[in-house]
């Protein structure tokens, strides 16, 4: 019982503080707007129509539920009243904190205090909404009641799921079923059948061909960005995921690729006007060369030093691009405009053509990355990632393989950069801040280091979703940061972890043969 109280208390305090933080940055309000969008419960037609307060209640209910659920995390066998107690404490504590926060801010706001001098996200209109357009005390009481009730419901749900461990058992059975199905001969036979794979590939190809035609230019733009980030992610995945070298300045290669392509094809400032496909090749080559030059001196540094040095390189390249001494070459902070676009049948590439090109490149990239992973080189990288000393002892030339990983990663970035510059028809130094590196790193890590489906999934989650949830735009990086920390604590292997290749133990006769072979 004591532990239940303690857990309830700590969960309540955590959720209370989280609530206050979200209130101060205006996320409670944005959250209710999003809930409204999801439920179709938005404003009326008139401009002045207030947002329905039921959305806000839904947000409060979700927070209460989470508080109640986390209040009895890990206690599976306790009696119902213990979990009731935990949920009650969590709800009361977080509710009281929320009550205080709401009461104080609302009373001050009614008294005419303007929070926005110091806390710009505390808009008075939003505060009216958070008060349900009534008095501070009544509003605060609603918050308290919601937190307590839903925290109780949350802990009750958790309790229901944990009675006799039936939920855990079901879960276990399901997982075992899935894994036996995966291992079963029939499925393997189907998956290994060449014709089945061919048909599946054809279906995917047809779908990918028709999708860009169907969904319009807005979606093509968003999915094009996602595709460019998939390319970047594939490249960084080779460096970070396969060979285990944390490179934080990946944007340097992206920038070099984009600028090479732009400078070779744009009329200003040099007017070279090279053939576009040659320019793409040149972009890939220059960024690979940059990777080689940067990698040579620093790749024998270990882990965290490498991270900081590459971060430094990324910043140096950006500062140099926009500095006065290189303005002659790069056009300085203005950037390069009118970057060349490919043509098809005498017409400039449309958004659909770009999307097709990007999809093709992504498929090729996935193929290359997959083949690399299964090759001798890939196994050498993974050996380096797992333990560099042991890899060296088993005869892997670690230095050479690490440089190779950096080169290939840089090549992907160069290609992505060329595509980026061509599609946007513009490239400037501010496109290549450190945040790009961090975004790509997030994609690789959230997806699962070394996992190819993980990269695609990560790019969709981190680049595609924020485009869809427009209201969350300002909060995106905050969520990224929190996500990185939480991922590392809860699920360091990522959303879609890379499958470990299992080598079968030789059985029966085979094993005997092997044994005699070894003896001889």
């Amino acid at each position: 019982m004591k532990t239940a109280l303690k857990k309830g208390l700590s969960s309540g305090v955590v959720f209370g503080i989280v609530f206050i933080f979200l209130l101060l940055i205006g996320l409670i309000n944005v959250g209710s707007m999003m809930v409204g969008d999801l439920l179709g419960n938005t404003k009326g037609l008139a401009y002045n129509d207030p947002l329905p307060t039921s959305n806000l209640l839904a947000v409060l209910a979700i927070m209460g539920l989470l508080a109640g659920i986390s209040a009895r995390k890990g206690e599976d066998e306790s009696k119902w009243w213990v979990s009731f107690l935990g949920g009650l404490t969590a709800g009361l504590v977080s509710g009281i904190l929320a009550w205080l926060a709401i009461w104080v801010t609302e009373t001050m706001s009614i008294d005419g205090v303007n929070f926005q001098t110091y806390l710009p996200n505390m808009d008075p209109n939003d505060l009216n909404y958070l008060r349900f357009y009534s008095t501070p005390v009544a509003a605060a009481n609603t918050y308290l009641v919601y937190f307590v009730v839903f925290s109780l419901i949350g802990s009750a749900l958790k309790w229901l799921f944990s009675i006799n461990g039936w939920f855990a058992k079901c879960w276990q059975v399901c997982r075992e079923g899935v894994s036996t199905w995966k291992e079963s001969k029939n499925l393997k036979g189907v998956l290994e059948n060449r014709w089945v794979m061919l048909v599946a590939f054809l279906i995917v190809a047809v779908v990918l061909y028709f999708l860009p035609l169907a969904w319009g230019s807005y979606w093509n733009y968003i999915m094009g960005t996602v595709a460019i980030y998939v390319l970047l992610g594939l490249g960084l995945n080779i460096i970070v995921g396969y060979s285990g070298q944390l490179v934080l300045g990946y944007v340097a290669f992206f920038a070099v690729g984009a600028y090479t392509f732009a400078l070779l094809t744009a009329p200003e400032p040099h007017g070279i006007g090279l053939n576009l496909w040659l320019a793409v090749g040149a972009a890939v080559l220059t960024s690979t060369a940059t990777g080689f030059l940067i990698g040579l001196p620093i790749l024998n540094l270990r882990g965290d030093y490498l991270a900081i040095v590459t971060l430094g390189f990324g910043e140096i390249i950006r500062i140099l691009i926009r500095s006065d001494i290189l303005t002659v070459l790069t056009n300085g902070p203005k950037g390069v405009t009118n970057v060349g676009q490919p043509t098809l049948n005498g017409e400039v590439f449309s958004d659909v053509n770009y999307m097709h090109l990007l999809l093709l490149l992504v498929l090729i990239g996935l193929f290359i990355a997959k083949r690399l992973k299964d090759s001798r080189t890939g196994r050498a990288w993974i050996a380096i990632r797992e333990d560099e000393t042991v890899a060296q002892a088993t005869g892997v030339n670690t230095y050479r393989y690490k440089i190779l990983a950096l080169l290939l990663g840089a090549a992907f970035a160069g290609l992505a950069g060329a595509m980026f510059a061509s599609r946007n028809q513009f490239t400037g130094p501010e496109d290549f801040t450190m945040m790009v590196s961090i975004n790509v790193l997030c994609i690789v890590i959230v997806g699962g280091m070394g996992s190819l489906p993980g990269v695609v999934l990560g790019a969709f989650v981190l680049k595609g979703l924020p485009e869809l949830l427009r209201e969350l735009e300002d909060y995106r990086l905050l969520v990224f940061g929190a996500l990185l920390v939480v991922m590392m604590i809860v699920r360091p292997e990522g959303l879609w972890p890379a499958a470990r290749v299992k080598f079968k133990k030789p059985s029966g006769k085979q094993a005997k043969d092997l044994a005699t072979e070894v003896e001889q």
């Binding site: 710009p120 934080l248 882990g303 900081i308 500062i319 140099l320 500095s323 230095y399 990185l484 590392m488």
Partner: protein, 365 residues
Amino acid sequence: MINKLRNLKLTPGLILRLLVGLVVLIYLGWRIYQTAFGEGIYGPDTWMRFLITGLVVGGMYALIAIGYTLVYGILFMINFAHGEVMMLGTFAGYFALEAFSAIPAPSAADQGLSFLNANPVIALLLTFIAGAGVSALMGYLLERIAYRPLRGAPRLVPLISAIGASIFLQNAAQLLFGPQRRQYQNPDLLWRGTGWMIPVGGKEVMLTYTGLFSFVLSILLMVALFILVKKTKLGKSMRAVAENKQAAALMGIDVDSVISKTFIISGILAGAAGVMWGIHNGLFNHYVGFLPGIKAFTAAVLGGIGNIPGAMMGGMLLGLLESLGPALLGLDFQLKDVIAFTILILVLIFKPSGLLGEALSEEKV
């Protein structure tokens, strides 16, 4: 020595290192010759000004660098979010000063006097306590939430967590307090842009009060830290944990609590540096911690990471190099930040153990 040379293999990496070293040396020699014997663009007063700036900024870098070094010495991880801890200290100091300047303390002579100007010493002291306190709390929470659950994980895992925490804190500050730049309210005693005029080479150079104040305070804090580490029981246990966690635990030292206290101490120093940054430079926003953080890390590496006197020296040296460097090398002042990164890269290529660091074993490096 000769054996060592004989065993040296000419790998491409080594050749490139030698080439880079040669080019850098030739360029440096030529530039120094130019500035010393060529037609002097800068008079001695300008050099003096650069020197003062360098020392003041260097003191702040040193304080932040100590935080990196302390944590690295114990956990062998780069506390990437340390710059953000400093940034929160700057914000805390700002709010404290705003509050003090809003509290009226009318005297007989001046009815409109605020608490800030009536008792500037107490107000400043409280400001520093607020800044250091918030930073210390942040350091403690950071360790508890983002690092402690990852004890014993592979090395990249806590580093990524630290990067995440850094992004989170930076954006949290932006969302809470807005992206605009804010200005520190200094007491009249320490008004920015006032100071003593020192005659140098026929001209006068201003030694600002804020600069002198920051420099003296950072030296005092460093001395205090040195005494703490060398003379107190806590310092002794910190050194023991840095040497060997298991052995320290066997001697009855509570390793977790020592680690927490290390984060608190580095938070205090970073918070103080943050308040100094605000008082000396005035304008700041939520990005204020990023560059000083990375540069202080450079300073820590320069001095030899894990080594406290090294971090102090490295900070001072980096501050000086950064302010004297562009003039010395004939570069644009735009490229000031490039210098710090270049130094970091050069140090890591040629002497990864830093200037004062001992050669670390594979396990520690």
